[in-house]
């Protein structure tokens, strides 16, 4: 299922906040059945988004180095050492 446009830009934090508000609204038992169903579906969608936010971060450690033109470029940072370009 694709995430609806409403949610696609939410951060983990925002999605979790929204999800928790939906859970408590649903738990209050107010509103019509249709509203409860809609809340449930939103909640399922938000929980998927939260999972996605947790997993989509790419594991990497990078270091900025001078690119020779006065700008910076990224390079992998090895835990054993670092290239002399970063001498500072």
């Amino acid at each position: 299922m694709n995430l609806s446009d409403e949610y696609v830009n939410l951060s983990y934090e925002e999605a979790m906040k929204e999800l928790e508000s939906i859970v408590s609204r649903l738990e209050s038992g107010e509103g019509t059945l249709d509203e409860s169903i809609a809340l449930f579906q939103k909640g399922v969608e938000l929980s998927k988004l939260c999972s996605q936010r947790l997993e989509e971060i790419e594991k990497r450690v990078r270091i900025l180095m001078d690119d020779g033109n006065g700008s910076k470029k990224e390079a992998d940072f090895s835990e054993t050492g670092v290239s002399d370009a970063s001498e500072g």
Binding site: V23, L33, R53, L54, R62, I63, S86, G88
Partner: protein
Amino acid sequence: MSAVFSVSDLNRYVGEVLAADPVLSAVRVRGEITGFKKYPSGHLYFSLKDKESQVNCVAFRGNAAHFSFVPENGMSVIITARASLYDRDGRFQLVVYDMEKDGIGDLFAAFEKLKARLEAEGLFDTAHKKPIPALPRRIGVVTSPKGAVIQDIIHVLSRRFPNFDLLIYPSAVQGQTAAGELKKGVEWFNRSGIVDVIILARGGGSMEDLWCFNDEALARAVYQSEIPVISAVGHEVDFTICDFVSDLRAPTPSAAAELVMPLKSELVSRLDARRGQLGRALLHSVTVRKNRLMALAGSRALMYPLRRAEAEGQRLDVLSIKLSHALARRIDTSSRRLEKNIASLDALSPLKVLSRGFSLATDPQTGSCITSVTQVTPGQQVRIQLADGSVHCKAEKVQAGRNL
């Protein structure tokens, strides 16, 4: 005639005079260290000299252990000491309690002055502090790429959240150029906008070593940063201007890594808990409504239009299909209860009600339910729906009032 002292008595007497003197019992002396020797016992022996004179000093192990630096020959220091006479050879000496580097007082005064000025200007205002994101997608750190600090940060981040994303802006963290480089790091991250949070990190050191973090221009860059900044400088006891102006102060670099990245396992279990709540809340909500509806349909059907029961029944059918899709994967324990609930929905079917002898009158022209005598005029066609078929009738007479 005055009394004749023995040598021992004389030395003891002089020692007592020195000890009783209010100035000499806690005197601060400025000078340069010379002839420094550390004994295996841990006691330190040295002399303090200036251009004309020198004086013997001893720092016993217990006091020496608390010095904030290791003394060396040639260092300018200020000691706090009491004067004493070493009985055995009648030698005057200072017993040192504390030692600080000369010039620290000036540094400290400068620090306090800058701190007061920036505080008055509002740079430390809590209202200006930005919240640290709950889950930074990418973390920027300005620090030395060498040494233990960056390794500690990487180690802690890996433990808390295995798929973290860290970008290092390498910078000197002590010396003349350090403040400028640190400032450039903060500014570079702000220009590029590719991190969610910035950590300024440095390991422990002397007050002079940490001095670059008391730089006014750096403080202003931190204040102006659009990206939240965590300062993580030195040890828990060290405070710098950066600590006050940053959005969050971490006592150490490792602590900064703890603060910046949540424990992934905790986030995952929190999410699981919310999913469970979601499923249970919906099921509960359906059950409550079903029970309400059953009560209506069972005991007070006549008082309520049958159409409503029919409509609700249909919605429940649709709902039960949706529910079984949505819940099937997630809520194993609940699904048995759900099936039971769906089965009992059958009892609400309009057919069941009709089979008990009730019937439904509709207008064959519009198809709508007839729920009031005002909807019928004599001579009008009326369709009566029974459990096993329908009867098409013509209204002969319309009479208001209940006459069952």
